[in-house]
């Protein structure tokens, strides 16, 4: 096996073995604690520009199933694993995990003490880092990592967004969708297919538009509702997004998810900030302050809404029970609500799918 190195801007260096495509990968190194769903995670556009560390011990066991991906191809530059399976075992598997990643040019490193890495990221914060298997010196890689731009101020959503509008009509695999009753426009900041599938299932005809689409153009389509999608990077840097979102408010029911939630927080006049190492996993408890239930949620975000900044402008509807951060806001009079986490799961628990029905009810009210 070929040796590989992961170097962080913090100066921490990890040795392992190259897997996936060969070459170099650079990005913000983050970690995800979900036990399952590596395919969904690596294809989630919200991870654009990031190197994802999987804390799960054995990765790739069930292969890759075409249909579970959240975008046509993997979105990450690289990934880090403790151990990767070569020959998957699962009746749904279409392709081995590594073969798939190699085909899409994703650079990986395995055999890493991922627990040590997580502990570094937890205390030093998410870091820029480089995976390399060309034999460059660790010091050179660290230097290089230090020169990489940080996430703050990066408008990655515009980069990953669709260039042209398109329609989506597939529901959740293996389920029969509700008959379509309403048109919804999804603004694509890096939308996961899971969101589109949930919308179809709930009874929407879905049109996806580019992130730069003007509010007036969206309204011109006369949708029953608008969804601001998830996406990567710094919400404050997504060009014009908050302004366009503000223009939608009050004119059409709006649902925001993840980056969409952050953009709506900015749109109502709030602020966002970068979390030390983010929330990425499938086990974060979130309290729905409206229904007073606790859901296990799928999470993937590095930025968060500053609670004080939205006070009086929106109500906080969901809260993370781990660290108390804002997980959802609403402006009922404007028929808008948004959540920071992923009600479309993919991967993760299905506890919050009811939010899509809540969106439907809001539209029909």
């Amino acid at each position: 096996m070929k040796k590989a190195t992961l170097a962080l801007a913090s100066g921490d260096v990890f040795e392992g073995f190259a897997c996936g495509a060969s070459g170099e990968a650079a990005g913000e190194v983050v970690f995800n604690t979900s036990h399952t769903g590596y395919q969904e995670i690596l294809t989630d556009p919200s991870y654009a520009g990031q190197i994802v560390t999987f804390t799960v011990a054995e990765l790739g066991n069930y292969g890759v199933h075409h249909g579970d991906e959240q975008a046509p191809v993997p979105q990450v530059p690289g990934f880090v694993a403790r151990r990767v399976c070569r020959e998957p075992s699962n009746w749904r598997s279409d392709e081995p995990f590594l073969a798939w990643l190699t085909g899409h040019g994703v650079v990986g490193i395995e055999g890493v003490d991922t627990r040590r890495l997580v502990r570094v990221l937890r205390s030093a914060g998410a870091q820029q880092g480089i995976i390399d298997s060309s034999g460059s010196s660790a010091q050179a890689l660290v230097e290089k990592a230090r020169k990489l731009p940080g996430m703050e101020g990066q408008d990655l959503a515009t980069k990953v967004s669709t260039r042209t509008a398109y329609e989506w009509n597939e529901g959740v695999l293996g389920r029969k969708p509700e008959p379509a009753r309403h048109d919804v426009v999804v603004v694509d900041y890096g939308v996961k297919r899971g969101i589109l599938r949930q919308l179809v299932d709930t009874g929407f005809r879905v049109t996806v538009v580019p992130s730069q689409t003007k509010a007036s153009d969206i309204l011109a389509r006369k949708p029953a509702g608008v969804v601001l999608s998830n996406g990567p990077g710094d919400p404050a840097a997504v060009t014009g997004a908050d302004r366009q979102a503000a223009e939608l408010l009050g004119k059409v029911p709006v649902l925001g998810i993840c980056l969409g939630h952050q953009i709506l927080s900015l749109a109502v006049g709030g602020k966002t900030y970068k979390l030390k190492f983010g929330h990425r996993g499938a086990n974060h408890p979130v309290r729905d302050l409206v229904g007073n239930s606790i859901d296990m949620t799928s999470q993937n975000h590095g930025f968060s809404t500053e609670e004080a900044s939205v006070r009086g402008k929106a109500i906080v509807t969901h809260r993370n029970l781990y660290d108390g951060t804002v997980e959802g806001i609403a402006v009922p009079e404007a028929r808008m609500f948004a959540v920071q986490y992923h009600p479309e799961d993919s991967p993760g628990p299905h506890d919050s799918r009811y939010l899509f029905r809540r969106f439907l009810q809001m539209i029909e009210r």
């Binding site: 054995e58 075992s89 749904r92 040590r116």
Partner: protein
């Protein structure tokens, strides 16, 4: 919602004796629950008949009742204590079944108390096969096609409809007891009849076979606000058809994609809600078709279980503790996660390692039992291991089993370089891979060595290819390792250590000594690091004192400079080494913590209290091998290790630890050796002018025969190094001895056999004593009820002695202390004596905590293992104010509990080989009543009227007359075989003769089956006589009729019956007995 204020006192139901399917995991859950309830300020009351548990130490509940777990005893406790609620979900199936009866028979209502944790309706919905199936169908959850049969006709009819093979599952039994797999009509009838008789409600589910499907379990918790979380997913390596308790299992699940896993999770949430378990933990089992992913729900346990103990240890999430808090009204988010201290318990643990559990079997004790694993559980214990990868965890678990393998040992002896296999070998391998037995995993490895393909192995075994390939990878690694040049260092050692290979396995593969490999490793500075179990994959800071080793970069242990003591646990439960030893380890840990030491626990048994992360200052969940223990000591630098509490397991490591520079605290290795080495011990006995039965050592058949001639038959024979009387026998003649010395044990130079004169009709006495090196005190003297020759672990006993005179007891005590002093014991020692014709013989001495220590502790109210632990660290008995033996006024009887009904064809007759899995205790003011209680608690409740069947061997005939006469006076009718009946009638005792099986019909077995007999006294000896009367004992067992197979226990039984006729039994709390001190 905060805790309920309408409740003030709570009765917790325990699980009784350790039996197959219900082991010390319920001591663990009970202790957690009692702790949690007490924290909340509730008054706690406990019912449990098992003295070997930590939970029944008087300090854990406000009121502790060591009484039989019956409706009658529970009702008396309710009458005395008037608890506001009864918590039945932490004591296994036993507690749940009792709760159902208490509720249905109106007992709870009568005393104005209520069930918490699970209501009657939810318990019945989950446990009643038909209601469960109906509920699942109603919510659209797929279950295997099935029918619920209440008669043999139903069984046959459903069988015809569903087609073979069929799974039979009796309702309300534990560990799948009485169930099985039927492949044809005959088996269907057999298993059907058995299943119906085992089910307390005579109900059995006949189920479409999903044999070969993948099996999964989810551990689910729910609170009263309907928040539901999955604590852990568990995947069985063995497919459906093998009881999950007998399967190798892995956590978290490995082979389901997110889409499939989340679907399963959704189903679990639906199921727990539909069944209506309001609060607490449940376990739900699923079958998954590997070809199309179809998921069926197999069953659900509406309570904490063996799997939840495993899930707790696997994740760090204390399910039982949280279940107890939920039961009194809290919601998950209101309870802090003890591990992170900053996050709530309403979450699903994320783990960044692999956990493997392997069951431990004891088939060698039941030579005629079928080793095939089916839906009825047969294992007696289990090991768990944690590794950063599956292969690490698997190899650790294999060496934790203590079955002589240090990894994937080759069953055909092909460890090492590739060797050819004959066609015959291959045929054998195929058949062994196809049949699930305890050794299957080793045969899978052998199959790869022989060149079989994964595809073929999948077909043969239905084990998921992912697991098979992991084994294949290890076999490939072994081949590469075996290529290491002799005499030179093993190349790539770090790589092999990361794959989880032990030094011992590497040594075997490369044909060198273990110490050579260890030396190479040390020279290369290759040592494991220790990682934390923290419920969150390092996402949050945690200082959990719960660690496991791995060969990686970062070590998370930050040892401090405090004085530390390493306590070695006892490993997997097995017959002869069970929960009693865990009890001692836990007490030792508590005592040393209280005394200001930092305690480090090493153990690999997930069922135990010792592996609860807050029992000790730090828990190392590691195999108990020299390599693993030395590595812990290297990092921690303890002042020493304590090896006397974990049974033989740590004792075997003592010399190695000493050689590695680790001090042994307490009794020295030298003294241990003096007691264990036969010849040295004989000299000690001689020096002290004590008496041993005449004996000798034989290295060959001829030597054995000569020795026996010298001593005189009958003789007791055994291999030189044994645990639990393994392969021990009483031999009556040359022929028997020849068979034993050639076939059974194969006496040889390296493995001699030991021969002792067998002391016939002697009274056996167990003594536990403790010393600090200068002063010695007897903890307790126990008189056995069965005569010498029956293994002490299988014999009932009484403290204080019920028939020995004071002088004999005094002399026995003196001898025990003299021995202890001579051996310079520091800590505990157990000595076994036999009293015959006024002479006292020493049978053996074990310079360590014995099986009886917890029982003596309960009987005397003194925590002897704590006392011993403090002695071991230098605190004298005087300092501890232990100066003399305390003889309680009440009588305590210990009775053994056996797994015979699990093993078809096992004989119930007792002998020198231990076969009991657990024990119960009866306490009362007279021996007879204490004995009666112990019998009830052991499931051998004595009748007060009816017909007694008596058949005794000639030498017992004189002794039985008085007993028969007394039974007649108690208005019993005597039924006896012709010889015994004639004898009794000659002595003026009326007895009706009955035919033996060989004498025609209707014979005694017919009468037993027809339910005519309510008590059986059957003593017998000699091979032929034993074989002839086997069916009597077997049917007696199968029909749940109380039976006694030794004259001495028959005598105790008659006394107990007389006492029962004088008035009903009462209950009394342990605290009251102890206050009378």
């Amino acid at each position: 919602m905060p805790r309920r204020t309408d409740l003030r006192s709570i009765l917790l139901l325990g699980s009784g004796p350790i039996v197959i399917g219900q082991a010390c995991e319920f001591d663990y859950s009970g202790v957690q629950a009692l702790k949690a309830l007490r924290e909340e300020g509730y008054r706690t009351i406990l019912l449990n008949s098992n003295p070997a548990t930590i939970m029944t130490d008087a300090e854990w509940a406000d009121r502790t009742y060591i009484e039989p777990i019956t409706v009658e005893a529970a009702e008396r406790i309710l009458a005395v204590e008037r608890p506001d609620a009864v918590l039945p979900t932490l004591g296994g199936q036993t507690a749940l079944n009792l709760a159902v009866r208490l509720a249905k028979e109106g007992v709870l209502a009568r005393y104005g108390t209520q069930l918490i944790g699970a209501q009657l309706d939810a318990i019945e919905k989950a446990e009643d096969r038909q209601r469960f199936k109906d509920t699942m169908t109603a919510i659209g959850v797929d279950v295997p096609k099935s029918g619920v049969a209440r008669s043999l006709d139903d069984v046959v009819r459903y069988g015809g409809e569903l087609g073979f093979p069929l799974i039979l599952r009796p309702s309300f039994t534990l560990g799948g007891l009485g169930g099985g797999i039927a492949y044809n009509r005959d088996e269907l009838q057999d298993i059907g009849a058995r299943a119906l008789s085992y089910s307390p409600v005579h109900e059995v589910l006949i189920e479409e076979s999903v044999l070969g499907w993948k099996e999964f379990e989810l551990e689910v918790m729910r609170d009263n606000k309907d928040n539901v979380v999955i604590i852990c997913s568990i995947e069985n390596v063995d497919p459906m058809g093998v009881h999950t308790g007998d399967s190798i299992t892995v956590a978290p699940q490995q082979t389901l994609s997110d889409v499939e896993y989340q679907h399963m999770r959704d189903l679990a949430r639906k199921v727990i809600r539909a069944i209506g378990v309001e609060t607490g933990g449940s376990n739900i089992q699923f079958g998954v078709n590997p070809r199309d992913g179809r998921i069926v729900v197999i069953e659900m346990n509406p309570r904490v279980s063996r799997s939840s103990a495993l899930a707790s240890k696997a994740t760090g999430f204390p399910i039982a503790r949280i279940a107890a808090k939920l039961a009194v009204g809290y919601t998950l988010d209101e309870i802090q996660n003890d591990i992170t201290k900053s996050t709530p318990s309403s979450f699903e643990p994320a783990i960044d390692y692999c956990v493997v559990k392997i069951p431990r079997f004891n088939f060698e004790k039941f030579p005629h039992a079928d080793r095939t694993l089916t839906t009825s559980m047969k294992s007696v214990g289990e090991v768990m291991s944690i590794g950063r990868t599956f292969s690490q965890a698997l190899q650790k678990a294999l060496r934790s089993l203590e079955n002589g393998t240090a990894g994937l040992a080759s069953p055909l002896g092909r460890d090492g370089p590739r060797a050819p296999y004959t066609a015959q070998d291959e045929a054998r391998i195929r058949s062994q891979v196809k049949t699930a037995t305890p050794d299957r995993i080793f045969w899978v490895a052998e199959a790869y060595r022989a060149g079989l393909s994964t595809q073929e192995l999948t077909q043969l075994s239905a084990i998921d290819p992912w697991f098979l390939r992991e084994i294949e990878a290890l076999v490939q690694a072994e081949e590469e390792i075996a290529r290491a040049p002799r005499g030179a260092a093993i190349p790539d050692l770090v790589q092999w250590k990361r794959l989880g290979f032990s030094d011992k396995r590497l040594a075997r593969l490369t044909r060198r000594s273990e110490s050579e490999v260890t030396r190479q490793r040390e020279a290369q500075k290759l040592h494991p690091v220790f990682k934390r179990v923290d419920t969150c994959a390092a996402e949050f800071e945690a200082n959990t004192p719960y660690l496991y080793s791995s060969y990686e970069d970062e070590d998370e242990v930050r040892p401090d400079a405090r004085k530390k003591v390493l306590i070695l646990g006892s490993g997997p439960n097995r017959i002869g080494q069970g929960v009693e030893f865990d009890y001692c380890c836990v007490q030792a840990s508590f005592a040393l913590r209280e005394a200001g030491f930092e305690t480090l626990m090493v153990n690999c048994n997930p069922e135990t209290v010792s592996t609860d992360y807050d029992t000790s200052d730090r828990l190392y969940f590691e195999p108990l091998t020299l390599e693993d223990v030395v590595e812990i000591a290297r990092v921690e630098k303890p002042i020493g290790a304590i090896v006397q509490f974990g049974g033989q397991t740590p004792l075997k490591l003592a010399q190695g630890l000493l050689d590695a520079g680790i001090k042994i605290l307490g009794t020295s290795v030298e003294a241990i050796d003096a007691a264990e080495d036969r010849e040295r011990f004989a000299r000690v006995v001689e020096d002290l002018r004590l008496l041993q039965p005449e004996n000798g050592v034989a290295h060959s058949r001829d030597e054995a025969l000569a020795t026996a001639q010298r001593i005189g038959y009958p003789v007791m024979v055994r291999p030189s190094f044994v645990l639990g009387g393994r392969a021990m026998q009483v031999v009556h003649d040359d022929e028997g001895l020849t068979t034993y010395a050639t076939e059974a044990v194969e006496a040889s130079e390296e493995r001699p056999i030991l021969i002792d004169r067998f002391l016939k009709d002697a009274i056996e006495v167990d003594v536990d004593c403790v010393g600090d090196g200068e002063r010695y005190v007897v903890c307790g003297v126990m008189e056995h009820i069965e005569e010498a020759g029956i293994h002490s672990g299988d014999s009932a006993c009484c403290l204080p002695p019920f028939s020995l005179d004071a002088r004999t007891i005094e002399e026995i005590s003196r001898q025990a202390m003299a021995l202890a002093r001579h051996l310079r014991v520091v800590g505990l020692m157990n000595v076994q004596f036999a009293v015959q014709g006024g002479r006292i013989y020493i049978l053996e001495a074990n310079p360590r905590a014995s099986r009886t220590v917890p029982f003596v502790g309960k009987a005397t109210g003194i925590p002897w293992a704590k006392v011993a632990a403090l002695c071991a660290v230098g605190k004298s008995l005087a300092d501890q104010r232990i100066d003399k033996t305390f003889v309680p006024k009440h009588l305590s009887v210990k009775e053994a509990v056996f797994p015979f009904h699990r093993f078809s064809r096992a004989d119930t007759i007792l002998g020198p080989e231990m076969r009991s899995t657990g024990e119960v205790m009866g306490i009362d003011d007279s021996f007879a009543r204490a004995f009666a209680k112990a019998q009830i608690a052991a499931g051998n409740g004595l009748p007060v009227r009816g017909k007694v069947f008596i058949s005794v061997r000639d030498e017992d005939k004189a002794g039985i007359v008085d007993l028969a006469r007394r039974l007649v006076a108690c208005s019993f009718e005597i039924v006896a075989t012709s010889g015994t009946a004639r004898y009794l009638r000659e002595k003026g005792v009326p007895a009706t003769p009955v035919l033996k099986v060989a004498e025609g019909r209707p014979h005694i077995v017919d009468k037993i089956i027809d339910g005519e007999i309510s008590l059986v006294f059957n003593t017998t000896s000699g091979k032929q006589a034993i074989a002839d009367s086997y069916s009597i004992r077997r049917e007696t067992l199968m029909h749940g009729i109380p039976y006694f197979t030794a004259l001495t226990s028959c005598r105790a039984a008659v006394a107990a019956i007389e006492a029962l006729q004088q008035g009903p039994l009462t209950v009394k709390a342990l605290q009251d007995y102890q206050a009378a001190k």
